[in-house]
């Protein structure tokens, strides 16, 4: 019981009760004689008073599947469901629901007392992160491998319903072997109940999934429906079917890690948004991440105390874009220089690296950053980067987070792989997302803004509120060389024509004279300009025509 002190985090309510129980126990004197678990259980049905039984159930609930299984969980380098909650939430803030819920299965011997665990295989409730309300469920792998029973699902649904009602985010900590096979269709129904709530809550409250163990089969669709999925390196897996089934169906030899590990999903499939080193690292990072989010779609983007002057000039930006148009630079340098304290929470840093998305603050207010990354594939838009960008833009729009877009895009990536893969409909997603967004939209063209990609990247034409060009901006249909080859096909003096084209179009003026950019600004003043615009745009009101919902090209 020595470990209980660290495992335990009971609500204030239960602490008060516990004190009462101890007095009771001292007077009755019967608790001290309990030895084995079996005896305790027998005793609880026959001799214990109600307060004693409450106390006993709570103690059992806090131990989940028992000390041996907790040790096994630790042995795998994982924390228990309750430890995770305690670390994620402010100390002492967790209020637990449904600690006494037990599963209702009576088949395969499940009705036996030793197969019942108070709270079943999930811990649910609400608490605070830096003082702000959050609902949470944390699957308990020590109880039936965290498998999902009807009761387990019911507990999750309860907090999800309340979260939507109150208007607070839901964080799901996933560590589950899958469906409770013994319960059959009851378990499947449970999954569907959760899926439905995931869908209905989408765009109402932020939903975050933390994968901290296995998550396989149908269970994967709950994280997939939420806004953000984070994983833990080496100890978490997400897949529809495991390596054995894969082998039997497609004859592929693949390990769990290769099939659905953190690396696969953050770099190859794009299913997960970020991976962390271990449980502790993930939970501490999640606290930081949570601070960027508004509690619901009814709240504005949060404003946290900021020490970084909003009018800070950044002389380094005046020389950051190389003079040669073909030379790469790191857009992250620009982003980090402009935002508050270089504090950037990048989303999907290892997937479709030709676009950067993530959260930052400007003068304390959360903003969503989207930027082409010239360092990777020249910053072009392709299928993956369009989808990555689109999903992020829609999240920001849903939750009133202003969008700041940095543009250096040579166009969409050509080729059969892209065309066969459907770049047309995937590219349209990003266009759709920027166009429908009604949050404040500020765009800075740092260099290239070519062709259709110019239109897509939060251009003035898509209702950009403040569109700026740096002096190095080139807003044009395409690069000078390509343009000249078309305009002057078969003619001589191509290089002369090319320099004429550069003179005419490879600069910010054609866009500026038409009002497609609002101003050509000195790069060093960018932070100051954006902060000032955001202050004005706080009261922006814009709406789209009434509709049941739009039909984004999926």
């Amino acid at each position: 019981m020595a470990t209980l002190g660290t495992v335990m985090n009971v609500s204030r309510y239960s602490i008060v009760l516990n004190v009462g129980f101890k007095k009771l126990l001292r007077t009755s004197g019967c608790f001290s004689t309990f030895k084995g678990v079996g005896f305790q259980r027998w005793c609880s049905h026959t001799h214990l008073s109600v307060p004693e039984r409450i106390e006993k159930k709570r103690k059992e609930a806090l131990l989940g599947g028992g000390q041996a299984r907790i040790d096994a969980q630790h042995g795998k380098g994982k924390l228990t469901a309750r430890e995770r909650i305690n670390l994620l939430l402010d100390p002492g803030s967790f209020v637990e629901y449904d600690m006494f819920v037990e599963h209702r299965c009576s088949d395969f011997g499940m009705q036996a007392e030793h197969n019942k665990f108070p709270g079943d295989s999930v811990v649910t409730g609400q608490g605070r992160i830096n003082g702000r309300l959050v609902y949470i469920f944390s699957q308990d792998f020590t109880v039936f491998g965290g498998s999902l029973s009807g009761a387990h699902a019911q507990k999750i649904c309860k907090i999800m319903d309340q979260a939507v009602m109150v208007g607070a985010p839901v964080i799901g900590v996933n560590d589950s072997g899958g469906a409770r096979i013994q319960e059959g269709v009851e378990s499947l129904a449970g999954y569907a109940d959760i899926f439905l709530r995931n869908v209905l809550s989408s765009g109402v409250v932020p939903q975050i999934s933390l994968i901290m163990g296995p998550c396989a089969g149908g269970a994967v669709y709950s994280p997939a429906l939420t806004d953000f999925t984070f994983m833990v390196k080496d100890t978490s897996y997400l897949f529809i079917t495991g390596p054995d089934v894969v082998k039997s169906v497609t004859n592929e030899d693949v390990t769990q890690e290769e099939l659905g590990g953190a690396k696969t999903h953050t770099a190859v499939s794009g299913v997960a948004h970020k991976a962390f080193e271990n449980d502790v690292d993930a939970l501490l990072n999640l606290r930081e991440f949570f601070n960027f989010l508004p509690l619901s779609n009814r709240d504005p983007a949060p404003v946290r105390e900021c020490h970084d002057p909003s009018d800070r000039l950044i002389p380094g930006l005046d020389s950051i874009v190389p003079t040669e148009s073909a030379k790469a630079y790191d857009m992250l340098d620009i982003v980090k220089a402009i935002i508050d304290e270089k504090d950037f929470f990048e989303i999907m840093p290892n997937f479709a690296k030709n676009i950067i998305v993530g959260f930052a603050r400007m003068n304390g207010r959360t903003v969503g950053i989207v930027g082409n990354q010239p360092k990777v594939a020249s910053g072009c838009l392709d299928i993956n980067s369009s989808v990555k960008g689109a999903r992020f833009v829609r999240f920001c729009d849903a939750f009133n987070i202003p969008l700041i877009t940095f543009v250096d895009v040579p166009g969409f990536l050509p080729g059969t792989a892209q065309e066969y893969g459907g770049i047309i409909r995937h590219g349209a997603k990003l266009l759709f997302a920027f166009a429908e967004a009604t949050v404040p939209k500020i765009t800075v063209i740092t260099r290239k803004a070519y062709g259709g990609a110019y239109d897509v990247m939060s251009s003035k034409h898509l209702r950009g509120d403040a569109n700026y060009a740096w002096p190095t901006a080139e807003v044009a249909v395409m690069g000078a060389k390509g343009a000249v080859q078309i305009i002057f096909r078969g003619k001589e003096n191509q290089s002369e024509a090319e320099s004429e084209y550069v003179e005419k179009f490879a600069n910010p003026f054609p866009a500026a004279v038409r009002g497609f950019v609002d101003d050509i600004i000195q790069p060093s003043t960018t932070r100051m300009r954006i902060c000032r615009d955001l202050d004005v745009l706080v009261s922006k009101k814009q709406s789209n025509p009434w509709k049941k919902h739009a039909n984004i090209p999926l």
């Binding site: 660290t6 502790v280 105390e305």
Partner: protein, 555 residues
């Protein structure tokens, strides 16, 4: 005079003390070995057209002479387009002291006192000062007069420097003459009050000197630290590259001069010398100049490239340096196993731990301060005492932090420290008072998991601060295996591969050369860390590699 062989002959003629050596061009390796044996080891191989330590090697035996000859001639050819080499006696335990001279077209010449430039790494100066703690008036005059004699003998006109090696008995030997303004000239300007550039322009125009030798004072003391973009933990400084994402010079401190050619946003590339600036401090005496240098280095903000501030800051506070007990071998003698950063005293360690704990609490408290009106009321954890676990190196310490206003009381391993600061978490420089000691520290990085890098006394320390709960739970976290670095060879710096000496399948002995990387015109030989068979070669001559790129794998 730019040619070392010529200049040595001229110096001999002008009756300037010279080092025993071979006054001619060395033809080949065999001749190099023969001459080396004649002069007696140790010997030094230098490029005739050299400068700045390029093409220079010291050899203690025949084999090193052969190897040194090969590298020096390659380096000399690539840097100066002239592979002629010369060999001379290598003076053990020498000091490098040079005399600044100024001469006009009318045949007048002055010596503007000396500069002590003994603190060097790879024969390149890093810390210089004027005057030298070592010279007495007589030696100074003797050196000055010989320097002037040499300048007059060659009818030199302009500012110039005559470099000497000075042994422990104050015997001095002519090394070479630099017929240009030198990097370290500001220290001379500080103590003499002369603007050397202005004087150079005057004499170039044909005016005669305005000063007499008797007018040249030694007023106060000046120190110069060369701030380089290099990693001081690798051979006292291997080039580093990158973009200066943040750059602030410590010009708010009195008596500070910074000569630099870069600004925030500048790119430090592999193609040029990695110098960031010359940081010069001046004081009425050496102690004041050194104190200001400490402060200036602590207040210097350089982000985006690795720099050598940790090293120079250690040098200027080292007891041997403070006493003036230095030689050109100072660095290898004081740090025989390489530079490892500042060694914290017990109290400094406590100071660092307490400051970092306080900074952590300050950031955590800020995370709770939302300014927008909340629809769902905040429920702030009203935490009075922060129980923390702070890790520095292998040591894990428990701390309890209590805040009242801008003072954080930190109980650390049973000791109480008061950390007071009005710090601005967005600022690069954090001024903090621990008990009664005021310091400027820099927080180089801070992440959500409590990892912080703090620049304290010049050195960057990695710390991890966690709540006690997080630290307790961290014990269950798996320890991830680090890769075995003895069987892989990574490029220690960005540069170009010049030569690859091994092929897959070959046996290599420990210490055997595997490949050569050239960066900033320096050739660096990379050797095997163990005796093994070569598994794979991932580079070939001519390719550009980045720092940490995999070059060769051993089995």
């Amino acid at each position: 005079m730019g040619d070392k062989i010529e200049s040595k002959l001229l110096a001999k003629k002008a009756k300037v003390n010279t080092i025993p050596g071979f006054d001619g061009v060395v033809k080949d390796t065999d001749e190099a070995v023969r001459i080396a044996r004649e002069i007696g080891y140790p010997i030094m191989i230098k490029a005739s057209a050299g400068g700045g330590g390029k093409g220079m090697r010291i050899a203690w035996d025949d084999e090193e002479t052969r190897e040194g000859f090969k590298f020096s001639s390659q380096e000399a050819a690539s840097s100066f387009g002239d592979d002629r080499l010369l060999i001379e006696k290598f003076i053990d335990n020498p000091r490098h002291i040079e005399i600044q001279i100024l001469a006009d077209k009318q045949g007048n010449a002055l010596w503007l006192n000396e500069r002590e430039c003994s603190i060097q790494r790879r024969n390149q100066k890093v810390v210089e000062e004027a005057p030298s703690t070592f010279l007495d008036t007589e030696t100074r005059r003797a050196m000055g007069e010989q320097a002037v004699a040499l300048a007059q003998a060659v009818q030199y006109c302009s500012a110039g420097t005559v470099e000497f090696l000075v042994d422990s008995r104050r015997n001095f030997y002519f090394l070479e003459m630099n017929t240009r303004l030198q990097v370290e000239h500001p220290v001379t300007e500080c103590i003499t009050g002369l603007d050397l550039v202005q004087e150079m322009i005057r004499v170039a125009k044909g005016y005669s000197l305005r000063h007499k030798q008797a007018d040249i004072p030694i007023k106060g003391w000046a120190i110069e630290c060369r701030v380089y973009a290099e990693d001081p933990y690798k051979s006292f400084g291997l080039p580093s590259i990158g973009r200066l994402s943040q750059y602030e010079e410590p010009l708010h401190i009195p008596g500070v001069r910074v000569d630099s050619g870069i600004e925030e946003g500048s790119e430090i590339s592999i193609y040029y010398d990695p110098m960031i600036s010359k940081l010069v401090t001046y004081g009425c005496d050496r102690a004041e100049a050194l104190k200001r240098m400490e402060e200036a280095l602590d207040n210097y903000v350089i982000r985006g490239v690795t720099h050598n501030i940790p090293l120079v800051r250690e040098v200027i506070i080292h007891p041997r340096f403070v006493k003036g007990d230095i030689s050109t071998k100072f660095l290898p003698e004081v740090y025989p196993d390489g530079f490892k950063g500042h060694k914290l005293t017990d109290f400094e360690r406590l100071e660092l731990l307490a400051t970092t704990s306080a900074l952590y609490v300050s950031a955590q408290l800020r995370s709770q301060r939302f300014l927008d009106p909340a629809r769902v009321p905040f429920a702030k954890a009203d935490q009075k005492n922060w129980e923390l676990s702070v890790q520095l190196d292998e040591g894990i310490h428990s701390a309890v932090v209590t805040r009242s206003g801008s003072t954080y009381s930190v109980e650390l391993d049973g000791k109480m420290l008061n950390v007071t600061s009005e710090w601005n978490l967005a600022s690069a420089l954090l001024s903090v008072t621990v008990n009664d000691t005021q310091r400027t520290i820099q927080c180089l990085s801070r992440d959500a998991a409590g990892n912080m890098t703090i620049q304290f006394l010049g050195t960057a320390y990695k710390l991890a601060v966690m709540t006690k709960l997080a630290a307790d739970l961290s014990k269950f976290m798996p320890v991830k295996a680090e890769e075995d670095t003895s069987s892989i060879l990574r490029s220690p710096m960005p540069g170009t591969v010049v030569a690859v000496s091994v092929k897959p399948g070959e046996e290599v002995a420990e210490g055997q050369e595997i490949c050569v990387i050239e960066a900033m015109k320096m050739q660096n030989s990379l050797t095997a860390a163990k005796t093994a068979k070569v598994k794979a070669v991932h580079c070939k001559p001519g390719v550009t590699v980045g720092e940490g790129d995999l070059l060769v794998e051993l089995e």
